[in-house]
Symmetry: C2
Subunit: 136 residues, 2 copies
DNA sequence: GTGTAAATAAGAATTGTTCTCAAACAGAAA
DNA sequence: TTTCTGTTTGAGAACAATTCTTATTTACAC
């Protein structure tokens, strides 16, 4: 029977959805993705569980892009690029934040550094050379 | 009469307020600061003008911290530290993001890098060692 | 004075997110 | 099986930050 996954926890589906994409989506996107498979999914459940995963450290928040909080199931420290054109968030896996920067940060303000986020913004390859956009 | 500047543009007051602080505030904070001097200031005006300044490049947005967008009139690239204890945002003027990182970012994704933000998070000196009393 | 375009106040509308609560569910115990 | 108990959920109300609308005010040119 095809009663496989649908009867089980939606929580797992939400985490799996995030783990199965590199698009650093927001809650709404996850909801839209899962809705066809899980028609009785509620947007509130998506928010609730994303929030839970964040607390548990299973996912991280990249902050809000254009008013929407974006998430990443890749919890390893890595660098991001936000396209101001299309809003996409890309991983820049090649780039590492030098550890001496973290050390310098900690010592320069006498506190403790728990995490760091390096984010570049600009235009991605596709948006850099766009089709001509007209205002009517 | 002391009706000198207050009857003139609120826009200027909003920018000046942001330029006169290092606290990386949000719209509400700016509004509260100016309200005593400009009693008929509207919160909408603060939002509108912050948005305008951002567009014009006169200020930058640090993104949202706990749901509130924070701004900085210091448009020179610099590093920030967010204290998870007290929520303050500090400048780490001593630290620079190596330019080769930006270059690497741009070339690795074939786009254009317009800005970068390096943000550390953790506990500031005060929050790291709480209740440390000074000698009386 | 009149005309005009920019800036504003006030608050309504919008939007992303959180909260409430009753119902559904999963698993343990009887 | 049936009952019990704590967990998860759907639906939508509530909320807060931000944006939008509109009528009014201002600055300035004529």
């Amino acid at each position: 029977m095809e009663t496989t996954a649908k009867r089980f926890r939606k929580r797992e589906a939400i985490l799996a959805c995030l783990q199965g994409t590199t698009s650093h989506p927001g809650a709404e996107w996850v909801f839209e993705q899962l809705k066809p498979q899980i028609p009785d999914l509620s947007l509130g459940t998506v928010y609730r569980n994303l929030s839970l995963f964040k607390e548990q450290g299973k996912i991280i928040s990249l902050g809000t892009v254009k008013g929407v909080e974006r998430f990443d199931a890749n919890t390893a420290p890595h660098v991001h690029f936000i396209c101001n054109g299309c809003g996409r968030v890309l991983d820049l896996a090649q780039i590492q934040v030098p550890t001496q920067l973290s050390d310098a940060a900690a010592s320069s303000m006498g506190g403790r550094v728990d995490s760091c986020q390096l984010t570049f913004a600009g235009l991605c390859g596709a948006c850099k050379t766009p089709y001509k956009e007209e205002t009517p």
